[in-house]
Symmetry: C2
Subunit: 306 residues, 2 copies
């Protein structure tokens, strides 16, 4: 197989694009997907101050690398969850990555915030992945707003987006279908959120990270029994295998023709958002979910001490 | 396993309804699904004159039986396609079924209409299943309008509807999503179309036909290499197996929350329908697709004779 562009031996084969690439041309292809994805859906402006959420995995590190290459003003944000034998490794990967490339980095330590995940897991009787996601999104937004960032970028890839869209479509969830997309404008106390990798599959990101020599953290979280959406992702892997390009056309088709049909359901949801009486962050209840978790943790620790 | 209703031994097990039934209670369950389906989505009025499209398969014969049981004024319509070793068998099953139960029946013979399918297959360079479907829909509508019927009922089941909805959703086809549903009102030269079996799966219809002693034609058409939608139907079989009830909630969820979002795209499509200059039936071109096929056939036969 030869590179579609320069005819040198190819190393990456992409049936969905009916193409194969050598390492150099693959980097150009990847960067073009990010650049065009940002331009086509108006994700970022040239003067945006971008906070990039870094987990230490292939997607978030590739995102940071690509946005910096495209000359955006980027700062990394890592949430150190305080999980033994896991969090310190992810954090070290991110700190090395950022310092070696001169990237700015902010780290929020859940230990210092009084909410290390082992404590949350022990005392909060809800699925840990759901609580952890809530806490991370809370701090992403809070740091972005408090430190004056105009956009929060996350490494969600095409597979993440398709699995989520499919789940929302199976339920025909009007509110979720009204605001799924690679850009959510700033409103109601939320920073603008963007997903610049929405055109790139997990496989494409893994190849990019590997070929660019980005060392990433790839051990699964010890607390997740199995990744969410797994069954749907397998279903989509089969669909994509039989008809290459189906994932992309399903997702981009939704953005072009599905999302506009559900747009009117967005306003109704937005009206319900108010400020948390404790921390001021946006919530639908009086006290936000994260502040409520803090209260529950404090109570549990007091009971334990008593 | 015991019948959920009367505790006699069950013969049909339906995980999607978390229930099992004996033959007598299954008939009641089935009839209730048809009755409630008609009521909930306003498919038929008590004074509707209903033309029931009969292929001779389990779905269409079960539909005819159920609508007659529910005291609707029903007449069968069969299109005899003129396919050797197939059409005569289907027609005989339908004629026996209708005469033994005193049902009115109209048969349209494609041989007499100058369009037997073997001739169409030989001379029309398009997928035969697509052309045959077009011809059948044409005559369904034409007979309904010419003979004063107020509704045309077809035996589409939940699996048919889910496979079609899924294909339309994968493409986010706004026009098709705007008018998929168990009832299409009369408009623009089209009779009202209803699908009273939209809540019942293929499996549920097969069980009903079997338990009611309805002999049905179940050989596949010799012209169809493989049924359309097959890959999607298999995907949905797996989804349903893992989460019983997913098909029903996807389809009914669409009717409740998806279809309204796409409703505005229906008018735009409807505006484009005009009357065929040859036969007067509705079409988007000057001469309708079926009249164009007739012209092509006439030309091919003349060329052969020359």
């Amino acid at each position: 197989m030869k590179c579609k562009v320069c005819k040198e031996p190819a190393v990456v084969c992409l049936p969905s694009h009916n193409a194969a690439f050598c390492p150099g041309c693959y980097e150009k292809f990847y960067m073009k997907q990010v650049r065009e994805g940002i331009r086509k859906r108006k994700l970022l402006n040239r003067d945006d101050k971008v906070l990039v959420a870094l987990s230490g995995g292939k997607d978030s590190l590739s995102l940071m690398y690509a946005l910096a290459e495209l000359d955006y003003d980027v700062t990394g944000l890592h949430i150190d969850l305080g999980i033994p034998n896991s969090s310190e490794k992810a954090r070290a990967v991110i700190e090395d990555f950022c310092s070696s490339r001169g990237f700015k980095l902010t780290v929020v330590e859940m230990e210092k915030e009084g909410m290390p995940m082992p404590l949350v897991k022990k005392h909060i009787r809800r699925p840990i992945c759901s609580v952890c996601g809530k806490v991370k999104r809370h701090y992403f937004n809070r740091v972005a707003l408090e430190q004056g960032f105009t956009a929060l970028a996350t490494g969600h890839n095409l597979d993440d987006e398709v699995a989520r869209l499919f789940a929302n479509t199976l339920r025909w969830d009007q509110a979720y279908l009204s605001d799924q997309g690679p850009v959510l404008p700033a409103e109601n106390g939320f920073a603008k959120k963007v997903k610049p990798l929405y055109r790139l599959s997990e496989y494409e990101n893994a190849n990019f990270a590997f070929l660019q020599g980005i060392p990433y953290h790839h051990l699964p979280c010890p607390y997740s029994g199995g990744a969410s959406f797994t069954a749907h992702k397998m279903l989509w892997r089969d669909l994509e295998f039989k008809s290459p390009g189906t994932k992309r056309s399903f997702y981009e088709g939704f953005l072009d023709r599905g999302a506009p049909a559900f747009a009117s359901f967005h306003e109704r949801k937005a009206e319900e958002v108010i400020a948390c009486t404790d921390c001021g962050c946006p919530t639908s209840a009086g006290v936000c979910g994260v502040c409520r978790i803090k209260v529950q943790l404090d109570r549990a620790l007091k009971d334990e001490g008593a």
